[in-house]
Amino acid sequence: MSIEVRDVHKTFGTFAALKGVSLKIQSGELMALLGPSGSGKTTLLRIIAGLETPDDGSGDILFHGENVAALRAAARHVGFVFQHYALFRHMTVFENIAFGLRVRPRRNRPSNDAIRGKVASLLKLVQLENFAGRYPSQLSGGQRQRVALARALAVEPRVLLLDEPFGSLDAKVRKELRAWIRRLHDEIHITSVFVTHDQDEALEVADRVAVMNEGAIEQIGTPEEVYDQPASAFVYQFLGNVNIFEGRIRNGRLRIGCLELPVSSPESADNQPARAYVRPHDIELARIVAGEGVRRGTVQHIHTAGPIVRVGVRTFDGSQTIEVEIAREKHQELDLRVGNVVYYRMRHSQIFVEDYSI
């Protein structure tokens, strides 16, 4: 079941939460909506579910080519996992999962035995076989999350929508559930959209990622695409740590102080201010000058905890401190100390003039 969102606007009072969002999700795909807080992710998800309506006259929502914009939430047959789970607190885990089946009109309500069987199989799927009789308050966050998922799946929804499914869990449980939900999706192949503001999560779990900012989608692509070819400075910045160098384009090169970087399409932006974006792991360090484009700096700090070593390098003119990430072996080989002189070189950079990549 594919989902298509066409030019949806949503205004709360005078505040435009969504400014013409269009999005196409293939059948069986796991799509991540990634963006900072307040960028409109939840609003978009709720509009897809029918819990919120787009502004009058704007936008269409299509499920499998069929326009569902006029359908109520109950009639859209979506599974929705809420940010805070929204489990029915007065019902046991079993009753929570069975709810969607029990409220069906009599003629297509399954028998009690069928409901029991269905709930049992879902409990197995979410690995909570022994928790059927518990109340939500007696479960851990991760368990609640899985109950919410089982409850949403019980009605055999056409699409599954998850709002920050791992939002309120601690880092370790998040990682486990992430991997688990990816496996689950590979198993049941239901078209799914999940909201997150954690870029690692989106890049690791999703088939494709839609990056949102201020009510609009900045880029849609596979995790590799959005990470390696960010369409805007925002995407570049949002998907990882970044060093920013301000400069001006002259004769086809970006001049940053005494540093020069080549620009790929120079004519378009001669004599314009521009910025170079460089990821910390795209900077090379050396103790001696070797090759072209090498600049001098001094080591300002070194953080060695973790799998990589982060080095802060003060530029020669003292205008900024750049963050560099190097492997542990490289760090040992260089034998850096605070105050040492080092030479750095950008391996890869991306240049944006007023937010447009050139």
């Binding site: 579910a49 029918g50 819990l51 109520r72 939430a73 109950a74 047959h77 979506v78 599974g79 929705f80 809420f82 805070h84 929204a86 489990l87 029915f88 607190r89 007065h90 019902m91 709810f99 969607g100 409220v103 069906r104 109340y135 939500p136 308050s137 409850r151 949403a152 019980a154 009605v155």
Partner: protein
């Protein structure tokens, strides 16, 4: 489950957690010296004893002073029986109506946004804000012989003031806030996510209300109903204004007690009063049971149980 705190349902859910851990006097590392704690406890106990326990005992003491025979005889009096009947009838009408109104109002306020919402919230508090006598007078002003609709009512031979309808109306007015005030903070703290979840799962409006909303508020609702009932049976001021004190016809229990007392029939007055006092004790017991029950296996209920300051009036 530990001891039940004195005032277990506090408006703030975080606060509600605190008393549960304290089973009596608990000493914190930097707490006040023991003698301060003990004198505070002694003062509050002495206060409770002299202002609550002693008067309550006195009621029963006076009621039985002339022996059980006189006590029982007080209830043989047709006027007393009529007063009891009227009180029960009034409560039987007022409480269910306020249950429905209260749930509806709380639901509207907690789960929807609409223009005039803050006005409605203020209006709900009105019966607590005005003196019961004024509440009664409002009805006299509306329905009394000289009132706005008095002539019309008289022309159609409908009696409201100095009759049962007036008493019921005044009681409904005075007791309206109990259920609503109990439910509004509770429903607000619960938000609408569970209802939304139910709707996405295919439930219709009724199913959502009866399967999700209502079970979530059941203890708060019961609590509000208990308080509402206690007040409906005990209301004096407003009822006194609209009743006209017709013996055997428009006297409720509190009014009857006053008449007996003014006629120096102390034993009879206290006998009827002991019934009301009994009601208070039963109410307290029921209230405690509800509180205790609501924090049974589903701990979360207790945390969400909150009562504005509905009991202060």
């Amino acid at each position: 489950m530990s001891a039940i705190p004195l005032h277990p349902l506090t408006p703030n859910s975080n606060l509600a957690r605190l008393p549960r851990r304290t089973g009596g006097v608990q000493s914190f590392p930097n707490a006040e010296p023991a003698w301060i704690r003990w004198s505070l406890i002694a003062v509050s106990l002495a206060f409770l004893a002299s202002f609550l326990f002693v008067p309550l005992t006195a009621v029963f003491w006076e009621a039985f002073r002339k022996g059980a025979a006189v006590y029982w005889a007080s209830f043989q009096d047709p006027d007393a029986r009529s007063a009891i009947r009227l009180t029960l009838l009034t409560a039987m009408i007022a409480v269910p109506l306020n249950l429905v109104f209260g749930v509806a109002a709380a639901w509207a306020i907690a789960k929807f946004d609409f223009p005039g919402k803050s006005v409605l919230i203020t209006l709900i508090d009105l019966p607590f804000a005005v003196s019961p006598v004024v509440s009664g007078l409002i009805y006299v002003l509306l329905f009394g012989a000289q009132g706005w609709w008095g002539p019309w009512l008289a022309a159609h031979n409908i009696r409201i003031i100095f009759a049962t309808p007036g008493i019921v109306l005044a009681t409904i007015f005075v007791t309206f806030p109990f259920v609503a005030r109990e439910l509004i903070p509770l429903m607000q703290s619960q938000g609408t996510e569970e209802e939304q979840a139910a709707i996405v799962l295919g439930a219709n409006g009724w199913q959502t209300f009866f399967r999700v909303t209502l079970p979530n508020i059941r203890w708060g609702l019961l609590y509000g109903v208990i308080l509402c009932n206690a007040r409906a049976m005990g209301e004096f001021g407003a009822v006194s204004v609209v009743s006209g004190h017709v013996r055997g016809l428009t006297n409720t229990m509190p009014l009857h007690i006053e008449i007996l007392y003014n006629e120096y029939q102390f034993a009879a007055a206290f006998a009827v009063a002991s019934l009301l006092a009994m009601l208070a004790l039963i109410t307290l017991a029921a209230k405690t049971a509800v509180t205790w029950k609501s924090r049974g296996p589903l701990e979360d209920h207790a945390n969400h149980n909150s009562t504005g300051d509905a009991h202060e009036h």
